[in-house]
Symmetry: C2
Subunit: 284 residues, 2 copies
């Protein structure tokens, strides 16, 4: 595995592979790899010839009171893990390389961004859309893989790719969970042992919501209530939002239709740590 830190070098390498007729698959990450990331990398290998993992903790997608500074980092370990699953290139630019002085351009997606993470984290999706555009232009992939855990982000990225005409296929890979059900996240390291013991109740709450849908519950507010009720049993949670929405257009009808694909979205605080998770279900 080669480590690349300069945009120009990355572009030359990608250009060379594309000229060879090789297909490039990009996995954008913020590092501190866990099994979820490694799963994305393994999936990537099935979609092309060359796997490029980008590792960049993007400051523009963090709010001023968020955890950019303390976001966990371990480059040495990330290198070893990425290498161990057969990644070809690890593109890890500095903040200065990505946002040099005088930087003055942003990409704004207005669909899917006026709710949930878009409201709770103002500017977050502008930062995501901008950095994804830059990472695509730096790595020139044919395919890019994103994790379902950031569900809203996957919709925003798909819209971006469609609207800006990026000739890139977007693949969404399923959430990888700890044995007790907690969705894997770099932010899980923030949790105290006590918080960690209750964190899997997000998964249990989501399961109850999905079970209700499968058993015929179509009233959105009732589905939400089932999830909220479970979370409220554990007073360590502060609920940021819980919402069952149409998984494709993000609309929130009073009653879901038969055959409708629904995603239940959850964001909670456990102490100071903000965790998000989601689960899909199809209305019977």
């Amino acid at each position: 595995m080669k480590i690349i830190t300069k945009v120009e070098e990355m572009q030359k390498i990608s250009e060379m592979h594309r000229q060879n007729g090789e297909k490039i698959v990009c996995v954008p990450t913020m590092g501190y790899f866990h099994e979820g990331h490694l799963n994305l990398m393994r999936i990537a290998k099935g979609y092309g010839d060359i796997v490029v993992v980008t590792l960049f903790v993007n400051p523009t997608q963090f709010g001023p009171n968020e955890d950019f500074e303390r976001y966990p980092r371990n480059f040495q370990r990330d290198m070893e893990l990425a290498s161990s699953v057969g990644v070809d290139y690890l593109f890890a630019p500095t903040v200065e390389e990505m946002y040099p002085d005088g930087y003055a351009t942003k990409v704004v997606v207005t669909k899917y961004t006026d709710k949930f993470e878009g409201v709770k984290r103002p500017g977050h999706f502008d930062g995501v859309a901008t950095v994804v555009t830059k990472l695509f232009n730096a790595t020139k992939p044919n395919v890019a893989i994103f994790g379902q855990k950031d569900y809203q982000q996957t919709l925003v990225v798909k819209q971006l790719v469609k609207d800006l005409l990026f000739d890139i296929d977007i693949i969404v890979a399923p959430i990888v969970r700890e044995p007790d059900g907690l969705a894997m996240s770099s932010r899980n390291v923030y949790l105290s042992p006590e918080e960690r013991t209750v964190a899997n109740e997000i998964y249990n709450a989501l399961n109850k919501g999905v079970e209700a849908i499968r058993n015929g519950e179509k009233r959105r507010k009732h589905i939400n209530s089932i999830v909220i009720e479970h979370l409220r049993k554990f007073n360590q949670f502060y609920i940021d939002y819980v919402s069952a929405v149409n998984a494709e257009n993000f609309e929130e009808p009073e009653v879901f239709r038969s055959g409708e694909k629904v995603v239940i979205l959850v964001a909670v605080y456990l102490g100071k740590t903000r965790l998000i998770d989601n689960m899909l279900a199809t209305v019977p």
Copy 2:
């Protein structure tokens, strides 16, 4: 010359040429070709192997009270002219192809856009930055050629390319003028015969400003006054703005320094027709 109307087909063609190791040069235009456009196309041939001219009257860069609807169009003639100078592909998508229903992404450049055209035409540069991004992704060029006549646009596009990491060289080609000095523009057809006889005074006014700079005038307001004074001799002009600015950073110092590269920008109305022009000079 092949006419392409679909993004997907254009991308496949560009991909094929790039895999062949051929260099693609893109010339973005809004059609209604004049000698200025043909000059861009001829210059393009010197920068690569394949010339792709895009022809798209982009609605998002026109304001609600501007001339999108009546902007001159002549596709048959444009095809013949582009073909006659050796263009390989004319990419002419429909508005529906470029902005399908549900379109929801824009690219915003905040540098160089808070003055002149950016103020006089609110949203104009968002429209330009967005469509240029899309046209780049549709045609996948190695090089793109823009005309100096839209001087501010060339700065915005260079900033966009730098900030979003497009691996594309931007070439700015000099203004082509009518024998009497009027800068060629598709909008010149709007001019009545009477307006046309006075239109070249924009060129004469710019020349006076540049002459003053060459003769040692460094005070910005004095340079502006010389240009304005000349234009005011012709009461057909309504002056939208006249400004001598640093040609690289768009700053407006009280006094220019020796060696400073200056561009004098002019926008005037002649009747209902808005014309822009500019001229470069280096302070001795």
